[in-house]
Amino acid sequence: MYPDTPIFTYPDNQKYAKVGEVDFTDSTREEFIMIQTMLIMMGVGLFAGIAGAILGLGGGIIITPVLTLMMGLDIKYAIGASIIAVIATSSGSTIAYLKDEVLNLRVAMFLEIATTIGGIAGALLTGVLDPKYLYLLFGALLVFSGWNMWRKLRRGQESLNNVKADPIATKLKLNGSYFDKAELKRVDYQVEQVPQGFLVMLGAGLASGMLGIGSGAFKVTAMDTFMKMPLKPSSATSNLMMGVTAAASATVYFFNGSILPNIAVPLALGILVGAVIGSRIMQVLPARVIRIIFIPVILFIGLQMLYKGIIGG
């Protein structure tokens, strides 16, 4: 009835079986390890949630290495845990954003068509398309985006006044405005290059569906680099979209036993709290600071993908 799902355990030769004078019985020791794992997961989650909500990323970049390298968890369960992490980051952060109108619901829903179609194409093309070329193409795209963001940073042009609204954007009511809590003023913005943004999203859905990474990085790239949206609405809208895109594949992992409750639940609880905090921090941070944190992260993800493409996936 149940698939064979070994639960993650520590090796037997752990030193903390004895603490002080007390000899722990086996069950006490197990209990101790369980509580320790829970606390680590909550702590990692809290950090990943704060970072993910500020940057508009899913947090896989933090969670997957912690789970696989530090805790020795099988990659299958690490992917299961990070898909729950993506949804928790998305839901936790958008609770705060919706009240403060930073995110753009219409942009989210319009672009969601592209990412979900891309996701289906990715699922169907697995085994047909060589992931190597996807790694190279999308790694290069992220590096380009990082470079482009760095140029924006140097020119100091966070608020773009010269952006001309795409006629499609006007038709689809995509242009928006938000109250910037760092600058203490309302920022109106236009949306440019809607077809290009849509195309990048289509590719992003395909790539993150097939490669399982970059769910948020591509979305922020499409909105910030191509559609010329300000960084804060881009990040917030990316957070909203991530959860919707992840939900369909999450049910697959849920029913095939890849999501371990003892790992994913404390992680999700930590992330929910972290994302609520992170989304509040994000709103008062100057966009410039967010961009400074974002650039090395996106360059790192991009170079990592290029590396995987070069060594052959």
Binding site: I7, M34, L240, V252, F254, G257, P261, A268, L269
Partner: protein, 129 residues
């Protein structure tokens, strides 16, 4: 010109209204999911051991999860909490369709419905491939 700005402010008010509705429903959904997960975690701490299942096992079918939850097995309760969390984004899409409909934004009723249909298709593909 006047007409244009009037239209813009109407759109803004619409969006405020939509966002408040969606925000509220989503908040409730997320809090419910978090409370169930936390309850499962507390059960696990109180009972200790393997979450009510043999070592290396967890409930993965709907019937196993339901019967486990009725028996208050920690892992089953935790799975229910995670399931609630997974469906909150889908709930958001459904509520958005209703909200756009209430605001007579036909275009976005179509766009958001399309998203929901594609989500359903990818759900089906995910469970058959």
């Amino acid at each position: 010109m006047d007409d244009q700005s009037h239209q813009n402010s109407a759109t803004e008010n619409e969006m405020d209204h939509i966002e408040v509705i969606i925000g509220r429903i989503l908040q409730i959904g997320v809090v419910v999911a978090a409370v169930i997960m936390l309850f499962g975690l507390i059960l696990l701490l109180v009972h200790g051991g393997n979450g009510g299942y043999p070592v290396g096992h967890q409930p993965t079918t709907i019937s196993a999860i339901i019967s486990g939850t009725v028996a208050l097995k920690p892992y089953a309760v935790m799975m229910v909490g995670m399931f609630c969390l997974i469906i909150t984004p889908v709930l958001r899409v459904v509520v958005s369709i209703y909200a756009f409909y209430k605001e007579h934004d036909t275009l976005y009723v179509w766009i958001t419905s399309t998203v929901l249909i594609i989500l359903c298709i990818s759900f089906i593909i995910g469970h058959t491939v």
